[in-house]
Each structure stands twice: as C-alpha cells, then as structure tokens.
C-alpha cells in the first residue's frame, strides 16, 4: 500500500485508512515488541503485575543462558534450516512448472485442478495428523528431518502453485507468441523468458514457504522426537526444562525469528511486488 494513494481521498477517508493501518500495525508488531522486551527482562520484573519496565531490570542474561545451552538450539536451527530450505526449494522446483502449466498450457480442466490443489489445504491439520503419523511411523521415518521436510512440502507446494499461477496468468501472451515465432520451445520459453521475469513472485513464494516451514510447530511436535527437533520445539522446551523461564524462552524465540525477519527485510521490495503482481491482475 502506497501512502501516495491516500491523497486521493478526503480527510475522513484518510483518517479511516490510517486508523485501520495503525490497528493493523499494533496488532502485528505488538507481540513482536513484547517478545523482544520480555527476552531482555529479568524473570522477577517480567512476572510482576504490571511488569516492571524500569531500566535496572533489563539484562542480557537470558541470551547468555540460552546461547550457553547452545547444543539444543544450534541443532534446532540446523534442523529448521534443512527442513525449510528443502521444502522451499522443492516446492519452487515443482510448483513453478506446475503453476505455468495450469496458467498457460492447454491443460484440460486447469481451473478444477487448481481448485483441487487448493482444497488439500482446507483440511484442518488435526484431521490429517493421525493418519500422517501412522503412515510415517510405518515407514520408520519418525524423527527424520527429510520426512518432516516432505510433510512441509505438501503444505508449501499448493501455496507456491497458487501464488505463481496468479502471476503467470498476468504475463502478456504476446511474449510467449514472440518466443514461439523466435523458435523457442515450451521448456526454453519457461526457462529463458518466464522464470527471469518472475523473480519477484518467486521470491515472495520462497519467503512465504520458508517462513511457514520455519515456524511450524504442530507437525514437528508429533513427527519428531529428539534428533530432528526444529527451532519452535526447542523453544518450547525451555518451558519444561527450566521451569518456564519466560525470559529464556523469549530469548530463544528472538534468536529463532531473527533470520526470518532479516530475510523479510532483505527481500521486502520483491515480496511486495511479487504478491501485488500475482494477486491484482491488470
């Protein structure tokens, strides 16, 4: 959303829009701010009602303690990286050609197929958790990073297909016609022309998929034991292991969300363009 667009409305419209945005910002940024604050507060000050925010109560001990227990967190971050990168990379590699085929090639009932792909995401996680657990344990793949990656792939692939399909539909047909006349086949057109001009939506889809996998808790909880634990599980363990030391839990959480936030800041322009291109046609 560009603020320049606000100029078009009258003062009432501007106030309403700005107030709406303010609510949205507080709603989304508030918890993050609270997360950072509480990671820096001593336990005593944090659990007071209301919390005591005087400067004397701020400390870095939570971070030093968490980093001291680095083995668990380090493994968690490594596992999360593997799972997130794997499910993102494979989702893009499979999703981009699938989305292109559904958007542009003469696939019979392409809309129906696209809807079915989306429909797989309409089941609540809990509904598929038990069959999924049985299946994966029968395969002997419980507590395996790659099996968790494959499960995440099944969530990420439909999202990637939908984001990219929206964008591919909006590419002018003339480009592909020109390529056809230039003697470029379908695969080469996809590789040399469609993909290079789709960097923004590809980035948006990749970041989205990565964050989904990075933050996922529920399936990680039921499909891993110790070896394949991801960051959210490690953070949760600070609750049990150290009698719910909120400050340490929050410090671990801050460490774990940092890569995601850096990712989002680095690619923010492409993410915005990517979603805007794909979602708003014309």
């Amino acid at each position: 959303m560009s603020f320049a667009r606000l100029q078009h409305g009258g003062p009432v419209r501007q106030t309403v829009v700005l107030a709406g945005l303010a609510v949205f910002v507080v709603w989304s940024a508030g918890p993050v701010l609270w997360l950072v604050l509480s990671s820096l507060l001593q336990q005593k000050a944090l659990i007071q009602q209301p919390p005591d925010l005087s400067p004397a109560n701020f400390t870095l001990t939570n971070f030093t303690t968490v980093v001291g227990a680095a083995a668990a967190l380090g493994r968690g971050i490594f596992n999360s990286l593997v799972v997130a990168l794997f499910s993102t990379a494979v989702a893009l590699a499979l999703g981009a050609p699938a989305a292109y085929a559904l958007a542009r090639l003469p696939v019979p009932r392409a809309n129906g197929i696209a809807f079915l792909i989306l429909a797989t995401q309409m089941l609540p996680g809990i509904a598929i958790a038990i069959p999924l657990f049985i299946l994966i344990s029968k395969l002997g793949l419980i507590d395996n990073v790659l099996s968790l990656g494959v499960v995440y792939l099944s969530f990420n692939l439909p999202i990637v297909i939908w984001i990219l399909r929206g964008f591919f539909t909006s590419i002018p047909v003339g480009l592909e016609k020109a390529a056809a006349v230039d003697g470029v086949g379908i695969f080469a057109t996809f590789w040399y022309i469609v993909l290079p001009i789709s960097i923004p939506p590809l980035t948006a889809a990749a970041v989205f998929a990565f964050v989904e996998a990075w933050n996922e808790f529920f399936f990680a909880l039921i499909l891993t034991r110790q070896h394949a634990q991801t960051v959210p599980l490690v953070i949760a363990q600070f609750a049990g292991q150290y009698q719910t030391v909120f400050g340490q839990m929050m410090a671990a959480a801050v460490i774990s969300v940092t890569p995601v936030i850096i990712l989002a800041i680095l690619f923010r322009n492409q993410i915005i363009r990517g979603f805007a291109d794909g979602m708003m046609k014309g």
């Binding site: 002018p172 003339g174 480009l175 016609k177 020109a178 390529a179 056809a180 006349v181 230039d182 003697g183 470029v184 080469a188 040399y192 022309i193 290079p196 001009i197």
Partner: protein, 356 residues
C-alpha cells in the same frame, strides 16, 4: 510464384466463427494488408498464417507446401506484435539476437548480425539498454529488428503501430514501407487503420465478420468498393449514402431519392428500373454549386488544411463535400451540391453489393 496461399481457411472457437472460408493468394514480395474493424478476424487469420493458431478447416500453403501442421519456426515467418512483446529482462542486443542464439548460432556471428540490423534501424547506440529504457518508437524498432535479424521468408505485422502517437506512426509507416522496398520480403500487415492500409500496401483485403469483403489494390478498394461495407469503411471523411430507387429517365437511368433524380453514368450492365438502391459519392466528387445539382443546406464546416469538409443536409439525408482550400460558409446557408455521375456509387439496398 505464390509465397502464401490460404485455401478456404476457417477458424472456430467453440460456437464462434472467427474466420470463414478465407481464400487469399499472395505472390512473392507482395505487401498485403488485412484491414477491418476489431473482431473481424484479421488477427486470427494472421495468427493462423504464423502458426500460432490452429486452422479449423482449409489449408495454408507456403511456397506451394501445406504448412497447417508446421510450427512458426518451421514456416520461417517473423512477426512484429502490437505491444512489441520485447523480453523485458533482456538488453536490446539480446532481444534481437535471442532467436539466433536459440538456433545455436555462434556468439560472434550473432553479434555481427545484431550489429548490422541495429545499424540499419538506428539502434546501434542503444544495444545495451533494456526495453523499459526505450521510447515506444524505439521499442517498436527493436521488435522489427528482432524480426529482421533472421532474414525470414515472410514478415507478419500485427497492428504494430497502434500504440504509437500519430506522428510517430506516420514515420514508422514510411520506415516499414522503405524496408519492404529494399528487402522485398513477402509481408502481411494487420491494421484497423484504413489510411495506414492505403498508404503502405500493394493490396488490401478488407475483412468483415470473418470473411474477406474485397481484395484489391488501394485504388480499387477506394474507387471501386465491392460492397457498401467497404465503401463506408474506407475513406475519410466517410461516404454518405442515400436510399433511392432506380427509374428509367429519358435515355439515361436515374436514381430517384425522394423527389430528386440523380443521373447515373452510362452502364455496361444496366440496372433494372424499380431496384431499391443506396447511392453516394466520395466527398471529393461532391461539388458545391450556385445553381446546379441537388438542393442542400450547410450544417457543418470543418477545415483540415488542404481541404475543407462541408457537411450538408439534403432530401436524402447527409452529404459531405470536400472543397479544396478554405471556404467561408455559415451553417444554415442554402446551396446546391453537384454529384459527379462518373463517380456515383450505387449499391443494392438489400445485399449491399455495388451495382455501379
């Protein structure tokens, strides 16, 4: 030798027929324009020639060989698109050379050919720029360069100038015509702009509702339109037609419009009396007169420089006269309009076909 031949080509999309029974033979080196309003089937026809659209029925031949099932590349056609369709992420040089690279041509040879084409289109200084850094006219020249570099047997143009402003359009028109005179490559050009079609083509195929209404040289199309549709579609200002009935006058046939009798020129094939017709003449063959011709009243005076268009009301409706230079006439002035019988166009009212 015939370079391109369409034999009874039709194209249907579901229940909609975009082209019906289009037949057209284009000799090598000729520049033919498909002209018509939007939705007349001209672009669909071009796409079928290019191989971008399948043919529903009929045959397309190139150099005598049936090409219905060949890809655009196998047909050796190059095409210039309305929205340029330049690859946005590639420099001008890469845009032009991409097709050669895809054919596996050696990089240094590609470079040489690209530079040659760029020089001929005055693009040499822009080879490293991206399409977004070029003006509309420059982008269109890159698109033409991309077509030229392959040295194809056939050029196809799909409304290439319709996104350009008027003065640039005139300039590009001249450039394309010169290019065609220099290279002599068989070309098909699609446009809805009748003036563009007239100025650029060897022959024009006027299309309407998926059919070719008339195929002929610009002069034939303009002076001897086969149908009412062609007559009114071509020419600016538009020809105005008045409903009438043929009567046998003293020695000569006349078209009776209301109470006015308009004399017809001597006919090779006389039109029988009683025929319901529509008559009219191009504005340059309608002269204003002090006392001869039909009674009329001036409605509108529009000077355009070399001529002035005078719109008149008369018994048969509207009549337009093109008068050389500037004229001073107040709206409401009563006058006479003299129609040159040798250039009177007579159409059958029911079928729209020209009778004279």
């Amino acid at each position: 030798m015939t370079a391109i031949e369409l034999k009874n080509v039709s194209k249907t999309f579901g229940t909609y027929t975009a082209c019906r029974d289009v037949s057209l033979a284009i000799p090598e080196g000729e520049f033919v324009t498909l002209l018509g309003a939007s939705g007349c089937g001209k672009t669909t026809t071009l796409n079928m020639v290019a191989g971008l659209e399948d043919v529903s029925s009929g045959d397309i031949l190139m150099g005598g060989r049936r090409v219905n099932d060949l890809s655009p590349v196998q047909r050796d056609v190059a095409m210039v698109f309305q929205n340029y369709a330049l690859y946005p992420h590639m420099s001008v040089a890469r845009n032009i050379g991409f097709t050669l690279k895809m054919r596996g041509m050696d990089a240094s040879e590609v470079r040489k050919r690209v530079e040659k084409v760029a020089a001929s289109l005055e693009l040499s200084s822009m080879l490293d720029r991206l399409p977004s850094q070029l003006s509309g006219g420059q982008q269109q020249r890159v698109a033409i360069g991309r077509a030229l570099v392959r040295e194809p047997k056939i050029f196809l143009f799909d409304e290439p100038f319709s996104n350009l402003d008027a003065s640039l359009r005139m300039k590009m028109r001249a450039e394309v015509k010169e290019l065609h005179q220099r290279l002599g490559v068989t070309s098909i050009f699609v446009t809805h702009d009748q003036e563009e079609a007239m100025s650029i083509s060897d022959r024009i195929a006027v299309m309407n509702q998926g059919r070719i209404e008339q195929l002929g040289t610009p002069e034939e199309i303009y002076s001897r339109p086969a149908t009412r549709y062609v007559a009114t579609f071509i020419g600016s200002p538009r020809i105005e037609l008045a409903p009438g009935i043929i009567e046998q006058g003293e020695g000569m046939a006349v078209a009776k419009v209301g109470s006015t009798a308009i004399q017809l020129a001597a006919q090779a094939r006389p039109i029988e009396a009683g025929r319901q017709v529509e008559v009219g003449a191009r504005p340059e063959y309608v002269k204003l007169s002090e006392d001869k011709g039909v009674r009329a009243v001036v409605r509108l005076v529009q000077p355009v420089g070399p001529t002035t268009h005078v719109t008149l009301d008369w018994e048969g409706g509207t009549l337009v006269s093109s008068v050389p230079g500037f004229v001073r006439l107040a709206p409401g002035t009563a006058t006479f309009a003299e129609i040159d019988p040798n250039h009177l166009l007579v159409f059958d009212r029911a079928s729209g076909e020209r009778l004279s």
